[in-house]
């Protein structure tokens, strides 16, 4: 399926490469900044640190979710034991969540 999907995409691009006109000009190829000349050099400078933070949070919490899945699937076989497991697990996660909350990582603007 992946191959097919990718194939379609590639195909489309190639076709347009073959068929599309090529009339480059400086103005066209200039990064778009509402028509002004690009200000302040390279765009790929440091981003706001917030984005890093969110990324890290995501990693951590996503792993937590990943841990959840096996428990969830096997849950009914495990019974109450699993429930308390889950509770303690979530409790720990919430500690981290609380910390993040207090640190104001989730406060934007």
């Amino acid at each position: 399926m992946l191959l097919i999907a990718a194939g379609i995409g590639v195909l489309a691009v190639i076709v347009s490469l073959l068929l599309g006109p090529k009339k480059p000009s400086r103005a066209k190829l200039m990064p778009y900044e509402s028509g002004n000349d690009p200000a302040g050099g390279d765009a790929r400078q440091r981003f706001p640190v917030h984005f890093y933070l969110v990324a890290m949070l995501f990693i951590v919490f996503d792993i937590e979710t990943a841990f959840f899945y096996p428990i969830a699937v096997a849950y009914q076989k495990l019974g109450t034991f699993a429930f308390w497991e889950t509770v303690s697990f979530v409790a720990l996660v919430l500690v981290g969540y609380f910390y993040v909350l207090k640190k104001g990582v989730l406060e934007w603007a």
Partner: protein, 100 residues
Amino acid sequence: MVSTNSYIILSGLLFAIGMFGVLTRRTAVMVFLSVELMLNAANLSLVAFARAWGDLTAQTAVFIVMTLAAAEVAIGLAIIVTIFRKRETTNVDALAAMKG
């Protein structure tokens, strides 16, 4: 059905590549990536062995290792970003506030 050996060889290769990266690369991020590569090599061989021995304990280990990798990513990136935002470079050699 692929034989266990080939898995092990592959993981060995991955590990070797990672090791090489750690030894040769100079930017923190690349070293870091190499380490992650090594971790995944370990995972691969763990899973392969688990299949060879036909028990699941090693797969739990794999889970742990994945978490660990994630945690390392989080902390490592945090440290690297902190340093990078203070000075432009993350070149390990350039970090010489203390004589090695």
